[in-house]
């Protein structure tokens, strides 16, 4: 199964959720600012990469974990992608899409805009790390997704 954590630009909230899922960030306590800032692929995606699925790794159950930036209108895009795969014979259970952006707080959203859209990395990246205040929501989200992916 392929599990897609989705957000706007595949740089912050989806990457954080995917790294929690893969164990690169703690799942049993709040991550530190340093851990958030230094997690793999955090605040790295360029604008031309929005829309390109990026592999983050494979979890212990063999599910491929990916991040996907869908810009605005994620719900419409997820439904369209699901219908597209179904029309081409891919079972719905083979691709699960999860919206990680809903768990991002204001700081992460503003920081992401400053860093990725305006290019103010010096301001945006530290602001994004302020996502640590909403970290428990990401952990809870990942737990729910893992439950969803459990076989049987």
């Amino acid at each position: 199964m392929r599990l897609f954590y989705c957000c706007y630009g595949s740089a912050h909230s989806s990457v954080t959720a995917a790294n929690i899922h893969l164990g690169h960030l703690p799942g049993n306590r709040r991550a530190t600012l340093g851990e958030i800032l230094h997690q793999p692929l955090f605040d790295r995606a360029a604008d031309y990469e929005v829309g390109i699925p990026r592999e983050m790794g494979t979890d212990e159950r063999g599910n491929e974990i990916l991040v996907l930036g869908l810009a605005g209108g994620r719900q419409a895009m997820v439904q369209a992608l699901t219908d597209f795969l179904t029309a081409l014979g891919i079972q719905r259970s083979q691709a699960i899409f999860c919206d990680a952006l809903q768990h991002a707080g204001v700081l992460m959203r503003i920081g992401g805009y400053c860093s990725r859209r305006l290019g103010w990395v010096w301001l945006g990246r530290p602001l994004c790390a302020g996502g640590v205040f909403k970290y428990p929501r990401f952990v809870h989200h990942v737990r729910q997704v893992r439950e969803l992916c459990r076989p049987g």
Partner: protein
């Protein structure tokens, strides 16, 4: 093969897809075209909307996006690559501008319950959208020709 038209909001894409299939022409009544394309249901429907098969047996779809067209293309091609699907199993064509102001003008009144206003704006959008729809179907024809499938 899948032929997929997409636009900001669903109506322009449906208009182009229906033109591709020969269901509608610019000479038709806008109200009839609007009803044929799903009417108010088009405002809220998410996902691919299958219209039917063209003369060559290709299934024609339309969907409304709120993302940029380049994001749509990267996402679809990215999915195809991940799942090992051949590139020639589908073709995408964007209809209209990246942000269609008529779409915003339609969805907001519809959500506020101003359905008659939304319907009227949709008809105006359809009337003005024939050029974009024709351009999108021409683009699709050229791509199909390039693949030797026209």
């Amino acid at each position: 093969m899948l032929v997929i038209y997409h636009s900001r909001g669903a109506l322009p894409a449906r208009q182009a897809a229906a033109l591709h299939l020969g269901w509608v022409t610019p000479a038709d009544s806008q109200q009839e075209v609007f009803e044929r394309l799903g009417g108010r249901g088009a405002f809220a429907t998410l996902g691919l909307w299958a219209l039917g098969c063209d003369q060559a047996g290709r299934t024609v779809y339309a969907f409304g996006r709120a993302s940029r067209p380049d994001v749509v293309h990267r996402a679809f091609h990215g999915m195809a690559h991940l799942f090992g699907l051949e590139r020639d199993t589908f073709l995408l064509a964007n209809v209209g501008a990246p942000v269609a102001w008529t779409d915003i003008g339609v969805r907001s009144p519809d959500r506020m319950g101003l359905h008659r206003l939304a319907d009227w704006l949709a008809l105006v959008g359809l009337q003005r959208g024939w050029q974009d729809a024709a351009a999108a179907t021409r683009t699709m024809e050229e791509r199909l020709k390039a693949r030797g499938e026209a």
